[in-house]
């Protein structure tokens, strides 16, 4: 059920970090036009049209939500009908206690529809997005939940452009930082000292690669 295409484990990425959502969106569109396959983008807030630009389809969670709601509605009816009509009819004021009391089951059916839809959909969302308590998060930049937007390209995937070209293109699109082999790290389970080491080491190749920028521009 987990969406495998969101896993970052044991992969190396070419990343461009942006500080403006419009620049990120433009970079995605340019790279897509040139046939570069983008792994994913990481942003601190939902950037509109980004999922469309990346070619993601609208999620099917809504269908799941509908089915959960239907189940909730039927559960509500079954609960009330079994208890008040089948198992132990409560005759109050001589009124019939059969299917004609259906109208007084409606509030409970309605509430259970909402309850099942909400919980079912959120649980499906967590499952699809591989979210659970205590899982380690895969980050490519420490500020991707603050003010940086990360564009990630999987280094194992065949690309229409060379890696150097992609890096220079990202620079040209306004990336404030680029890196050609970034690995995922996490903040919650790593101490500050280790994080400092982790975040410093891969800087060296970045500079070497970006120096090719001028030649590629021509």
């Amino acid at each position: 059920m987990v969406d495998k295409s969101i896993l970052l484990d044991n992969k190396k990425f070419t990343v461009g970090i942006f500080d403006d959502s419009d620049k990120l969106l433009h970079a995605v569109n340019t790279l897509k036009e040139k046939g570069v396959k983008i792994f994913d983008c990481y942003t601190p807030f939902p950037v509109h049209h980004l999922d469309h630009a990346l070619g993601y389809h609208r999620t099917n969670l809504t269908i799941g939500a509908f089915l959960c709601g239907l189940l909730g509605c039927l559960s509500g009816f079954t609960l009330a009908y079994y208890m008040n009509v089948v198992d132990w009819p409560m005759i109050i004021g001589g009124k019939p206690q059969d299917i004609t009391v259906f109208t007084s089951f409606i509030p409970v059916m309605f509430e259970l529809t909402i309850l099942f839809t909400a919980f079912g959909m959120v649980i499906m969302f967590f499952a699809r997005s591989r979210m659970i308590h205590g899982i380690k998060e895969d980050l490519l930049s420490r500020r991707q939940t603050d003010d940086h937007m990360v564009l990630a390209i999987d280094n194992d995937q065949e690309q229409a452009m060379s890696k150097d070209d992609i890096l220079s293109l990202l620079k040209k699109e306004g990336a404030i930082e680029v890196n050609n082999s970034k690995e995922a790290f996490n903040t919650s389970l790593t101490s500050e000292e280790e994080l400092a080491k982790l975040l410093k080491s891969p800087k060296a190749p970045t500079k070497a690669k970006t120096s090719t920028k001028k030649t590629k521009k021509k």
Binding site: I6, P44, P46, T62, V122, R130, D146, T187, S188, L189
Partner: protein, 448 residues
């Protein structure tokens, strides 16, 4: 989307993305201020009052309250309806305003939703303890019982209420938590302390802001908003049916559901304004909760206050026109009987006072809005008191007419729920982001 030039920016002060993060995370990452400690201490003292009075009620029995066989619902159910009503603004702001694409909701939805949840906690105390034996509080649930095959009665609005309130609480919690996840992740990634890294990491559930997750997240939030909208309307509708399906003059009216829903939104916005005006002042959030926000909320107060006022007058006219003497007497008794002071307090607070918001000055002056918001809170408490107590204390049989005055235990429980409410709210303000950072970042360049 086109926005006219006269629209004001939603976030003032030229904030950048990282400014938003820093401003919102400041209370979480620093030691609490002295004003926080002061407020929190008062709240905890009131919470102890709640614990004490509830313990006394359980120990001694419901006899410690002044409810009797004529006025069987007194302060307890008044307070229950009062708190449930307050709980309505949060979901209204986050769900209905999301469907209406009102962007001003984004800076205030987090705290309003928190308020909803805490208010429902407070509300749940009253029916639970009013049942007398709180350890048997699970009896309204549809469980097979040990004394035979008797089940709960699905024809009863009281049972609908059990389902409505518990669904409302759990769906609101889910909605709130879902909105918190990206912001908890932000705190996690800024954290340097080991414990903070761990706990915020635990509750962030591995969120990393992937575009795929955001796509799903937005759909889930939209659907939750879509289903929360009828839910929020249904909850107070069902609460009103607790009264409307009875045969008591003054309760037995078809106008109750819309009237109660409007009243709930009215009182909820009153409480949201009270809280936000304090929070914005103490936490320096004037750039996020601008006077534009206050103005928008006062307009909602004005609208719903007028609907409530209209309902009061409609009820009265219908009673007068009904030709039914008991109904006529119930309303005459409200206006001129022994509880007339409560009725006229209600009329002043709910019908008259909010009308000042026709003036632009009143809508944009924080200290004045604060006063009116308190008046609205008082007025809405009296509305429930008037409906419940004045209808019950003189019923069909003059031999059972009584007066009802609360005991210190009932007053203590009511004050105590404020302690519970504010203790929760202060904890929330210390440990969680009070403003939805992720959403505010999307509108930082936008106008109203």
């Amino acid at each position: 989307m086109y926005t006219a030039d006269i629209r004001q920016p939603l976030v003032t002060g030229g904030k950048t993305y990282s400014d938003v993060t820093k401003d919102v995370c400041r209370p979480i990452e620093n030691k609490p201020t002295s004003s926080w400690w002061l407020g929190f201490s008062i709240a905890v003292i009131l919470l102890l009052v709640l614990a004490g009075t509830l313990a006394w009620t359980v120990w001694e029995g419901i006899g410690t309250w002044n409810v009797n066989k004529s006025v069987m619902w007194g302060w307890d159910i008044t307070n229950f309806v009062f708190w449930v009503g307050i709980g309505h603004a949060g979901t209204l702001i986050s769900a209905i305003l999301l469907l209406f694409r009102q962007k001003w909701r984004m800076a205030i939805n987090r705290s309003a939703e928190a308020m909803t949840i805490f208010a429902v906690f407070c509300a749940a105390i009253f029916p639970l303890f009013h049942m007398g034996r709180v350890w048997l509080g699970y009896w309204p649930l549809p469980l097979p019982n040990a004394f035979g095959s008797l089940w709960v009665n699905f024809n009863s609005p009281l049972l609908w209420d059990v389902f409505a309130i518990s669904t409302y609480l759990s769906v609101s919690l889910v909605f709130w938590y879902l909105g918190l996840i990206p912001d908890i992740a932000t705190v996690r990634d800024r954290a340097t302390l080991k414990a903070r890294k761990f706990w915020y990491g635990f509750f962030a559930m591995g969120w990393n802001g992937s575009a795929k997750s955001w796509g799903r997240y937005e759909v889930v939030a939209l659907i939750l908003a879509g289903i929360s909208t009828p839910l929020v309307l249904s909850v107070h509708t069902i609460v009103s049916m607790d009264f409307a399906t009875s045969v008591i003059p003054g309760w037995h009216t078809t106008i109750f559901p819309p009237y109660f829903v409007a009243g709930a939104i009215f009182s909820g916005f009153g409480m949201v304004l009270t809280l936000l005006l304090i929070a914005r002042h103490v936490m320096n959030y004037q750039d996020y909760i601008t006077t534009e926000h206050l103005e928008a909320m006062t307009k909602v107060i004005l609208l719903t206050g007028s609907i409530v006022g209209l309902a009061y007058i409609t009820e009265f006219v219908i009673a007068a026109y009904s030709g039914y003497e008991y109904e006529q007497y119930a309303f005459a008794n409200r206006m001129f009987g022994p509880y007339a002071w409560a009725y006229w307090t209600m009329m002043f607070c709910n019908l008259m006072a909010p009308q000042v918001f026709w003036s632009k000055w009143a809508r944009t002056t924080p200290w004045f809005i604060f006063i009116i918001s308190i008046i609205v809170n008082i007025g809405m408490w009296f509305e429930r008191f008037v409906i419940i107590v004045t209808s019950l204390h003189r019923d069909f049989l003059p031999s059972s007419w009584v007066m009802y005055h609360a005991t210190w235990v009932e007053v203590g429980i009511f004050l105590g729920t404020f302690g519970l409410f504010f203790t929760c709210f202060f904890m929330f303000a210390k440990f969680l982001p009070v403003i939805n950072m992720a959403e505010v970042k999307t509108i930082i360049k936008d106008k109203e």
